[in-house]
């Protein structure tokens, strides 16, 4: 994973047509423990999430991609798990 802060997650969110609120709700449903504000920080690369938080968020986005007929394009923390 690149060390340079990036808003890649937020761009993935946009591609998945998820609002910030809806994404947080889905993340929350899966047991996510970070606040809506922190999640926004993760999305923009302003805050670094734990691996677990990162993966819950990524899975929320990926499940949405599946809903839209796609796959699980966003990589998880361990990498190579697509």
């Amino acid at each position: 994973m690149s060390e340079v802060p990036t808003d890649a997650l937020d761009r993935a969110r946009l591609d998945a047509a998820l609002s910030h609120g809806e994404l947080w709700l889905r993340y929350f449903e899966m047991g996510g423990m970070s606040t809506a504000l922190e999640v926004e920080g993760y999305l923009y690369g302003a805050l670094k999430p734990s691996d677990h938080d990162h993966d819950v968020l990524v899975h929320a986005i990926n499940e949405r991609f599946v809903e839209l007929g796609g796959n699980h394009p966003v990589p998880y923390s361990e990498g190579g798990d697509a």
């Binding site: 809506a36 993966d55 819950v56």
Partner: protein, 400 residues
């Protein structure tokens, strides 16, 4: 006994008696009490004040009297225990600030014990944490955001409207009604203190399909709102449903709302300013400012009310409140159920496989990826599989 200081010295009761003030006439709340312990038992402390209940604009005078009496009697090292205080608003903070300002030149100290996270945050935002020590926090600072400049302790709140912007992160901590209500109580207290001519402020919100008052500076004002809900008419209702401003300059001359006006006048109200609260451009409630004086709200006050309304809308937006409050409620309920199911499933896997919660999550998550089935569905399978004897293999089982 609730208080941890209620232990007498082995040689007998303290020389100076405990003094208790009880104010059971506090509106809205069940009661508020300040109990003062002047015994020698409290190491390094001259006086310990324990607060119970809620401090509002009506009973804050009791707290003020207690603090200053204690200082008048020569006590210099004060500890105020907030452990049983349900709510401390701006009024209570100003009393604390004034007491700290009085103690400082006397070489005295004021320390807070068991301050809630919200209280500590508000102290930090208002800059009072520089003047008032918080037990257990080294520098007296406990802030989550950028450092705030210390504000004049005894100053009125007129210039601090922007501090509402810092209340937003508090509301974003959880989409729960309690946190939103706490933030809104701060807003109404601040609005009441800041808007010239305001005698009462309330916030009404649409919840579960009904308009209800979620914060009010006193009972008269809450009663005003109730009058509107009861008659089904009033500026608050119209602002909340139409998303527009409604200003009654003089209730005596007002022709609109013929059922509501007489009731309001009988309570002594003579002008009203209702500002809509919007979330995603939809009206979700109203910020209502009432005055016993007619024509109390000129252009400047209206503008200030607008600023408060905007800040309140931001709080609501951060907390995830939107127009379909009923829908949000159901959505949240569904989300909570799904979250509980996943927690249960993780528990099952942790027990079964001897793994950590994060590892258990990865197991279900990988299963969800490979099967293209939603995680919540798999979690339900895991949980229901525990109820069956000889159940089909659950996600993550060897050989899946």
């Amino acid at each position: 006994m609730r208080y941890d200081w209620n232990a007498f010295d082995s040689e007998g009761p303290p020389e100076r008696p405990l003094v208790a003030w009880r104010d059971l006439e506090a509106h809205i709340t069940d009661g508020f009490s300040v109990t003062v312990d002047l015994s020698e038992d409290n190491a390094g402390t001259d006086a310990l004040l324990c607060l119970m209940g809620e401090i509002d604009l009506v009973n804050v005078a009791v707290f003020d009297r207690a603090l200053h009496s204690v200082i008048d009697q020569g006590n210099r090292r004060l500890v105020v225990d907030l452990g049983h205080l349900d709510f401390m608003g701006i009024a209570g903070l100003r009393v604390l600030g004034a007491a700290a300002a009085r103690l400082d030149p006397l070489g005295g100290t004021l320390m807070l014990r068991s301050a809630s996270a919200l209280t500590r945050r508000v102290l930090s935002i208002t800059g009072l944490s520089e003047a008032i020590a918080i037990e257990g926090v080294e520098s007296g600072f406990d802030h989550l955001g950028p450092e705030q400049p210390a504000t004049e302790v005894a100053a009125t709140a007129t210039t601090d409207v922007d501090l509402l912007g810092d209340v937003v992160p508090v509301a974003a901590l959880a989409a729960s009604d309690d946190v939103v209500d706490a933030a809104l109580r701060l807003v109404v207290a601040l609005a009441r203190a800041t808007v010239e001519g305001a005698d009462g402020v309330s916030v009404s919100l649409a919840r579960q399909g009904r308009l209800m008052t979620v914060a009010a500076t006193d009972e008269t004002i809450a009663g005003m709102d109730i009058d509107q809900y009861a008659t089904g008419e009033g500026p608050c209702i119209d602002a909340a449903t139409e998303g527009r401003w409604f200003h009654i300059e003089s209730l005596e001359e007002e022709l609109r709302w013929p059922s509501f006006i007489p009731r309001a006048r009988s309570r002594g109200i003579n002008s009203v300013l209702s500002s809509p609260l919007l979330a995603r451009d939809q009206p979700v409630g109203a910020l209502n400012i009432y005055s016993f004086t007619e024509r109390a709200f000129a252009a400047q006050e209206q503008q200030l009310a607008g600023v408060f309304a905007t800040q309140t809308s931001l709080i609501l937006a951060a907390a995830g409140v939107d127009a379909s409050a009923g829908l949000i409620g159901r959505r949240l309920q569904g989300a909570l159920r799904a979250r509980e199911t996943i927690a249960l499933a993780l528990g099952v896997l942790m027990e079964r496989d001897g793994v950590t919660a994060d590892e258990a999550f990865n197991i279900i998550r990988r299963s969800s990826q490979s099967s293209d089935r939603p995680l919540s569905e798999l979690a339900r399978d895991v949980v229901s599989s525990t109820r069956q004897v000889g159940a089909a293999p659950a996600p993550g089982d060897r050989g899946e």
